[in-house]
């Protein structure tokens, strides 16, 4: 019995002492979304931006993982980040909207960067962006436009689009892609050669890979589709596999996906890293602008095609620079929804995908 007591006492002492060991603090914090930090998507893109910025400026940083996907759990992770000494917290994705809505008032001295979302209360009745919060949104339609434009310039005429689900961001990618394809076709006067309509426009209904998706893509490729733009997260892997089997190409999304498959012609990138770094830089400089949403498009390096890693054959960096400039300076205003798209193309004879298909309202 005595032995046991001594043992317990020793344990308590050791633990007690060690518990006093100093816990490090981290100034820049990120909360991960439902996927892991290496999700080859939002988490990873954001995290890489943070690493680059923090290393360059020698600031401590860390990411925190919530216990589950729920508003409460996200808010608890924010609590933890603040306890861990965070002065600015980056949250990737619209799932954080309600949690940031609560946190911005709870921690008025902490800054928040919310990517791809705008803070609102859980019941969607009150929208509020406090002065310490910077929501960053992307012009996905511009990224999609660049991808479509480049594909047609690179010689592709029969195209397809697959989305994960018809959520607004994905719909915008699609609308922009259609606009880009036909804009380039009009410039090259090859409108009549373009085959891109309802037959090759589809939402998978899921962001995860599946053999069914692969089979669908295979059937398109078999019917002479030359390239598919897949704005479908992980489901893009199914399209890559189908492209590899068919000896065809595809276009990636969100981040540069060139290293995932040789079939990736290019990727319609959101410059997550750039956007995050711009936000962090403003915070570091004491010029953090909160209160309103910031839109990142071509004008502020928020979207891009990764020209260095793209597998273009005829589309040149100069052509890219020219169209990018047109977008950046507003010469070309890319449509963000279907109605604007119709106005933009201004040619009723074109055989473009229908509104129902693009907005995902057919079934």
């Amino acid at each position: 019995m005595k032995k046991l007591l001594v043992l317990v006492a020793a344990m308590v002492l050791v633990l007690g002492l060690s518990a006093c060991s100093k816990v490090e603090t981290y100034k820049i914090a990120m909360i991960t979304d439902s996927g892991g930090i290496d999700d080859e998507s939002f988490n990873q893109g954001t995290w890489e931006g943070i690493i680059d910025f923090a290393d360059e400026n020698d600031i401590s940083y860390k990411y925190y993982k919530p216990l589950e996907v729920s508003d409460d759990a996200y808010l608890e992770a924010i609590d933890l980040a603040v306890e861990g000494g965070a002065e600015i917290i980056v949250t990737p994705g619209f799932l954080f909207e309600s949690s940031i809505y609560a946190a911005q008032d709870l921690y008025p001295d902490v800054y928040f960067i919310l990517i791809d979302g705008t803070p609102h209360d859980p019941t969607w009745t009150t929208w509020k962006t406090a002065d310490n919060t910077m929501p960053i949104l992307f012009n996905e339609h511009e990224a999609g436009f660049l991808a479509g434009y480049a594909a047609v310039y690179d010689g592709y005429r029969e195209l397809g689009f697959t989305g994960g689900m018809a959520v607004p961001a994905v719909v915008k990618f699609g609308v922009g892609f259609i606009a880009g394809v036909y804009y380039a076709a009009q410039e090259l006067e090859v409108e009549d050669d373009i085959v891109f309509n309802d037959d090759t426009y589809h939402y998978f209904g899921d962001f995860g890979p599946s053999d069914n998706f692969k089979n669908l893509a295979l059937s398109w490729y078999a019917a002479d589709t030359e390239i598919i733009f897949s704005a479908a997260g992980g489901a893009g892997a199914s399209v890559m596999a189908a492209a590899a089997d068919s000896g065809a190409m595809m276009i990636g999304v969100d981040i540069d996906q060139y290293d995932q498959s040789d079939t990736v012609l290019t990727s319609a990138m959101k410059q997550l890293g750039n956007a995050v770094q711009q936000g962090l830089q403003a915070w570091l400089d004491g010029e953090f602008v909160g209160g309103t949403s910031v839109y990142k498009g071509a004008a502020n390096d928020g979207v891009a095609l990764p020209m260095e890693t793209s597998r273009f054959e005829t589309f040149t960096t100069a052509q890219y620079a020219a169209i990018f400039l047109d977008l950046a300076d507003g010469t070309v205003v890319v449509p963000a929804d279907y109605d604007a798209l119709v106005l933009f193309l201004n040619d009723a004879t074109l055989d473009i995908p229908t509104k129902d298909e693009v907005e995902g309202t057919t079934d």
Binding site: V14, L15, G16, S18, A19, C20, S21, V23, E24, T32, G36, I37, K62, Y63, Y64, K65, L67, E68, V69, S70, D71, D72, A73, E76, L80, E83, G84, F94, L95, S98, P122, T123, G164, M165, A166, V167, P168, G205, D206, F207, G208, S210, G360
Partner: protein, 440 residues
């Protein structure tokens, strides 16, 4: 009749009084002092003191009534000691892993894990919140196990239960306008029925076609997973966010005043439901002819046939109940504000964790309750471990190692018996006054 009730009340006066007192302390009194931290603190102290004192009193009473009690001869004590040793083994594994990963912060981090849900009021509430589905899936697996069935399908039953609950929560708002509590109750009942039906399938296959329940229930997990995705998209889909619609606020699990005692945490009345299920299953297993049959079938199917028990019917019933409990877990898991069913083709892991918890809880309802809370505590410990320089992925590994080493460490039991026995032999060699005294 009245006489019986009166006798019962008199005979159990102490238990009932303590129970009533605790009920007041936990569910009623705190709401009147919601903003008074010091009084809330006193209330919490009272709860701990009352509960602790009661247990201590019972132990003393037991000692007095059983002076010759030898721990090694009590199966319960040996089993419990085995579980504790197993947990310590798991923790040791965790510590070693932490020392390997980051020796500098290992001890500090380890202390955080030990603290777990007892770090502060908030983490205590969160511990309870996270343990509820685990307790229920643990119960589901344990109950089937007592009947000799290995229900690996808890995940699928949970998924179906979750879908049913959310569907009712989203679509049947009419009930909510009539009575909020009723809406929640109907949603929960829907979850129970859906889980029960899903559990009945492997039960029927096992009973009447002798299909191994492990195989059929594990395959049904996938059916449930895809069915869930399909049904969400078809009926309760929020297209803008690629997830299910939020249940109406009337269907969300009521807080039952627990948030006064455990403010800022995610705690809800789910724990009350879980404890009620623990008690019900305990009574079914240990006090009823039904439980007598179920356990007989589980222990020795041939003997149960010899005794004329209908083992086929029992297998089906056991799987139905097991599925119902797992379905309930799903309902409680998703009838939460700010949490959404997702059409992700991923198996919900709580069902599998339930297997480990059932093992650690020795397949007894109260054991599973404690094991589930232990799991919740570990989860909190792991969450706060992020304050140290451990990446979340490593923490996940550490927590998983602790849980599984704990569950698997049960084989250490025989060493426990040996140690207990040795100690008793030492005691036995002393003059046997106590023994003589008790015989007189």
């Amino acid at each position: 009749m009245w006489e019986k009730v009166k006798n019962y009340l008199v005979a159990n006066a102490l238990n009932l009084n303590i129970g009533f007192f605790l009920f007041l302390l936990v569910f009623i009194i705190p709401q009147f002092f919601a903003n008074n931290d010091s009084i809330l603190l006193v209330i919490r102290g009272l709860i701990v003191a009352t509960g602790g004192g009661y247990i201590f009193y019972k132990l003393l009473l037991f000692r007095k009534n059983n002076p010759n009690f030898k721990p090694s001869e009590s199966k319960l004590l040996v089993d419990v000691a085995g579980s504790i040793i197993a947990i310590l083994t798991g923790l040791l594994f965790g510590l070693i892993l932490m020392l390997i990963v980051n020796p500098g912060q290992a001890f500090g981090g380890f202390f955080v894990i030990l603290q777990g849900g007892f770090r502060n009021i908030k983490s205590f509430g969160d511990m309870i919140y996270f343990s509820v589905p685990i307790i229920l899936t643990g119960l589901s697996v344990a109950f089937a196990f007592r009947t000799g069935l290995f229900n690996i399908g808890a995940t699928g039953q949970l998924t179906m239960g979750a879908y049913a609950a959310v569907y009712i929560g989203v679509k049947w708002g009419v009930i909510g306008e009539f009575s909020p509590f009723l809406h929640w109750l109907v949603a929960i009942l829907g979850a129970i029925v859906a889980g029960a039906l899903w559990g009945a399938i492997p039960g029927l296959l096992k009973a009447y076609r002798n299909v191994n329940e492990v195989v059929s229930s594990i395959m049904l997990n996938y059916v449930a997973m895809y069915l869930n995705t399909m049904l969400i998209v078809k009926y309760i889909y929020n297209r803008d966010f690629a997830r299910a619609l939020a249940p109406k606020s009337t269907a969300v699990t009521p807080l039952m005043n627990l948030h006064y005692l455990l403010p800022n945490s995610s705690v809800s009345g789910g724990i009350v439901v879980a404890i009620v299920v623990v008690i019900i299953l305990h009574i079914i297993l240990n006090k009823t002819t039904f439980g007598y049959e179920l356990k007989a079938v589980g222990f020795n199917r041939d003997a149960s046939k010899y005794a004329g028990m209908n083992s086929k019917r029992n297998i089906v019933y056991a799987m139905v109940i097991s599925g119902a409990v797992a379905g309930l877990a799903g309902g409680l898991m998703y009838l939460v504000d700010g949490k959404f069913l997702q059409p992700l083709n991923v198996l919900i892991p709580e069902g599998f964790t339930g297997i480990a918890i059932s093992l650690l809880g020795l397949s007894s309802p109260f054991g599973v309750l404690l094991a589930g809370l232990f799991y919740g505590s570990l989860k909190q410990g792991g969450f706060y471990l992020q304050l140290y320089s451990f990446t979340p992925e490593i923490i996940d590994i550490i927590i998983a190692v602790i849980i599984y080493a704990s569950a698997l460490g049960l084989f250490l039991q025989k060493f426990v018996i040996r140690a207990m026995k040795k100690r008793e032999m030492l005691i036995d060699q002393k003059p046997e006054e106590a023994v003589e005294g008790s015989d007189a």
